[in-house]
């Protein structure tokens, strides 16, 4: 499949991209000396990232304007054929933080809805269009792979792709 830097709805609207904090968190590394405070901070980071992903997916599946969730216009690498992404709630997400706590990676399986447009000039596509079939939807299992960066008091998506 062709990977494109924008989704089906040009959701990044890159020109209007604001590198605003996306997921506010409470605790910087100042709690390192206090293990319970550090655990609490880590839990809050985890919740913040999970919330960030959910917010991103809601927006992706809705209006498509996800600019507020990402660090830059090239962060999202999702094929233009992807119409909807649904996390597999039965699958445990994998979340790893960098040692310095400034970045994290996350992944989880998902069901994606794909739309294939039969817009080409192959004979089969022409005949499908002739029959009134301009596209086809399908579902596939994929894995969401995302990377995040801490920006001040919050997290933002620096890369998100489907594997």
């Amino acid at each position: 499949m062709i990977e494109q830097a924008t989704s089906r709805r040009a959701f990044l609207k890159a020109g209007a991209l604001v590198a605003a904090p996306a997921a506010v968190l409470a605790a910087p590394a100042a709690f390192a000396a206090d293990p319970s405070a550090a655990r609490l901070a880590r839990m809050e980071d985890e919740r913040a990232i999970e919330g960030l992903v959910r917010g991103f997916l809601r927006r992706f599946n809705g209006s498509g304007d996800c600019a507020e969730f990402v660090a830059h216009a090239g962060a999202i690498r999702i094929d233009a054929s992807v119409q909807e992404i649904r996390e597999d709630v039965l699958d445990d997400a994998a979340l790893d933080f960098a040692d310095d706590g400034r970045s994290a990676s996350w992944s989880r399986t998902a069901e994606v809805e794909l739309l294939a447009d039969f817009a080409g000039n192959t004979t089969l596509e022409k005949m499908a269009r002739f029959q009134g079939q301009g596209s086809a939807r399908s579902q596939a299992k994929r894995r969401i792979e995302a990377e995040f960066a801490r920006t001040g008091e919050s997290w933002t998506i620096t890369r998100l792709a489907l594997a």
């Binding site: 794909l114 294939a116 192959t122 089969l124 005949m127 029959q131 009134g132 086809a136 399908s138």
Partner: protein
């Protein structure tokens, strides 16, 4: 210039059918309308004085007189033909002074009936010589009220194949019904070539045994051939109406007998036997989806071909929707070098310098670098393709090389063909591979095969992009496109060639003539039910070689060997 013949000796898509005028058609119909259809002996005299056919949206009354005379709604009388198959009577006549006629299939057990209004074209057909039809399912008024449901379009015939012989003329055709909207016909006597053609068709279930079938040679003569067939007794009664290749009117009825050839699979959900998947219920009278590929085909001159090739040539440089389920390209040839000696053809030396770059030279010529892709879809057997830059006809070589036995087969694609310069021509060449560690096959070569004759495979290239191939004759590949409900839908056919590479491994090509101009090639592995192939295409967007790959299902095989096994394949047209 093709010789004018009632049944051309060139492929029908090459024959220049006359654009008949309304005056010509009206004049040609005048006397036959009064005389009635010729053909079958024992034409019947109906005893009824009148029949009124009624269906939602239409009602006509046929008044009969002795001497097989009939008038419609009080108009001038013409002569009808009538033939009965068991309890089903087919009545046909033209309306004097018009370009119209009727065919009525009347079930005399229950008074269900199907009426076909027939008229020579202009609307919706784009050619006056093409016969249009509107189909009405209804009943004959009077007598007992019909029990049960109306006649209706059906998918029940889909997959079947029958060889029909007209009793009076002896003309034989192999009729494949691979779709619920198209059929595929191979004339055995009118045309000697043994080439099949795909044309729009109707399939109407009359009873469990009896089915009404039509085909219209749209894009060719425009002639309509219809019959009621008894699927159990393999008997038929029918009507042929239209103008042949020398513009003679054919207007006759016939009886026929059939030889059952078998049935390929159909792919609707189990409970779905609905028909007419390409209906246009909101269209004008007679409307249906008739695939007319020549209308949308790019048509370039040699000069235009040169220009687009120079400006826009793509060789395996982008994904193809036709390879969504393809195997990944193989690196297995990288580092290899060998020569292929084609019988009565060139010697091509190869040095495969990477996974996707090779050097080739012909004879003692200079080495030329070319981009290639290769796939190994059975151990030791590779299909690879590349363009031969500098060749005047922009040759593309698509080669299957069996490195374990030293045999190679080439499908050579080329342009600057005589009808449309961008339409791919094709040539098949057999040869041997000479290289270190590669066995010498001696005189042995891959060979043409009839193993695939009558077989059908479905192909899913990617979600929603599904088709079926029907290898209908030794020189024909037909392709049928599935609708979203998995009915066989529109269809076309082109020249084909079939080569056996190993047991259950076949190299197949087809040319999309008067269609999209593509040369399609696939190496079919019937053990893994996967293919790898290459498309060679030139159009306004340039010249391309692109991958083909799909999952296969075997849809079955019908036995046409005794009728088509002697025909030849693999020649250029």
């Amino acid at each position: 210039m093709a010789t004018r013949l009632a049944y051309p000796d060139v492929p029908l898509f090459r024959y220049p059918y006359t654009a008949l005028s309304g005056e010509f058609i009206s004049s040609a119909l005048r006397a036959p309308a009064l005389a009635g259809p010729t053909g079958a002996s024992g034409m019947e005299e109906l005893l009824a004085r009148a029949l009124t056919f009624t269906a939602e949206g239409t009602r006509i009354t046929l008044e009969f007189q002795l001497g097989r005379k009939v008038s419609v709604d009080g108009a001038d009388a013409s002569t009808y033909g009538a033939l009965t198959l068991d309890h089903l009577t087919l009545v046909a006549f033209l309306v004097p002074g018009t370009m119209r006629g009727h065919a009525l299939a009347w079930d005399r057990h229950n008074n269900h009936a199907t009426l076909l209004e027939l008229w020579f074209g202009g609307d919706p057909a784009p050619h006056l010589r093409e016969v249009n039809r509107e189909i009405w399912h209804g009943m004959i008024e009077g007598g007992e009220q019909p029990a049960g449901g109306m006649h209706q379009p059906t998918a029940r015939c889909e997959g079947r194949a029958v060889m029909w012989r007209e009793t009076e003329s002896g003309n034989r055709t192999v009729d494949y019904y691979p779709s619920s909207a198209f059929s595929h016909c191979v004339e055995l006597d009118r045309m000697a070539e043994g080439r099949g053609y795909s044309v729009p068709s109707d399939y109407i279930k009359l009873t469990e045994d009896l089915y009404l079938y039509t085909r219209t040679e749209a894009e060719f003569s425009g002639l309509m051939h219809l019959y009621v067939m008894d699927a159990n007794r393999l008997e038929s009664v029918g009507l042929r109406l239209g103008f042949n290749g020398i513009d003679e009117l054919e207007y006759y009825m016939f009886r026929g007998t059939g030889d059952w050839l078998g049935q390929n699979a159909r792919f609707q959900s189990f409970a779905d036997v609905s028909g007419d998947p390409l209906a246009m219920p909101d269209g004008p009278k007679g409307a249906r989806r008739i695939y007319r590929p020549l209308e949308t085909m790019d048509k370039l001159t040699p000069e235009q071909v040169s220009a687009v090739v120079a400006a826009d040539t793509h060789v395996f440089d982008k994904p193809s929707p036709m390879a969504g389920h393809g195997l990944p390209p193989s690196p297995g040839l990288s580092g290899e070098s060998f020569a292929i000696h084609y019988d009565d053809g060139p010697v091509i030396d190869y040095r495969f310098t990477s996974n996707d770059s090779l050097e080739w030279r012909e004879g003692s010529g200079a080495w030329t670098t070319a981009r290639y892709n290769a796939w190994q879809n059975m151990p030791g057997v590779f299909i690879f393709g590349h363009l031969l830059a500098g060749k005047p006809d922009h040759d593309g070589h698509i080669v299957v090389a069996d490195l374990e036995n030293g045999k190679a087969t080439l499908f050579r694609g080329y342009l600057n063909t005589p009808y449309f310069a961008n339409e791919a021509g094709a040539q098949t060449m057999f040869g041997r591979i000479v290289g270190a560690g590669i066995p010498d096959p001696g005189e042995a070569r891959h060979e043409r095969t009839l193993d695939l004759l009558g077989r059908s495979f479905t192909w899913e290239y990617g979600p929603g992009l599904t088709s079926m191939h029907l290898y209908s004759s030794p020189n024909t590949v037909s392709w049928i496109i599935f609708t979203p409900s998995q009915h066989g839908g529109s269809s076309w056919a082109g020249s084909g060639d079939f080569v056996k590479i190993r047991d259950e491994l076949y190299f197949v090509r087809w040319q999309e003539e008067a269609c999209n101009g593509t040369l399609g090639t696939i190496l079919i592995n019937m053990r893994t039910m996967h293919d790898s192939g290459i498309g060679y295409h030139c159009g306004e967007n340039g010249l391309s070689m692109s991958p083909v790959g799909a999952y296969a299902r075997h849809a079955g095989r019908v036995d046409v060997m005794q009728y088509l096994g002697e025909k030849t394949g693999g020649y250029p047209v």
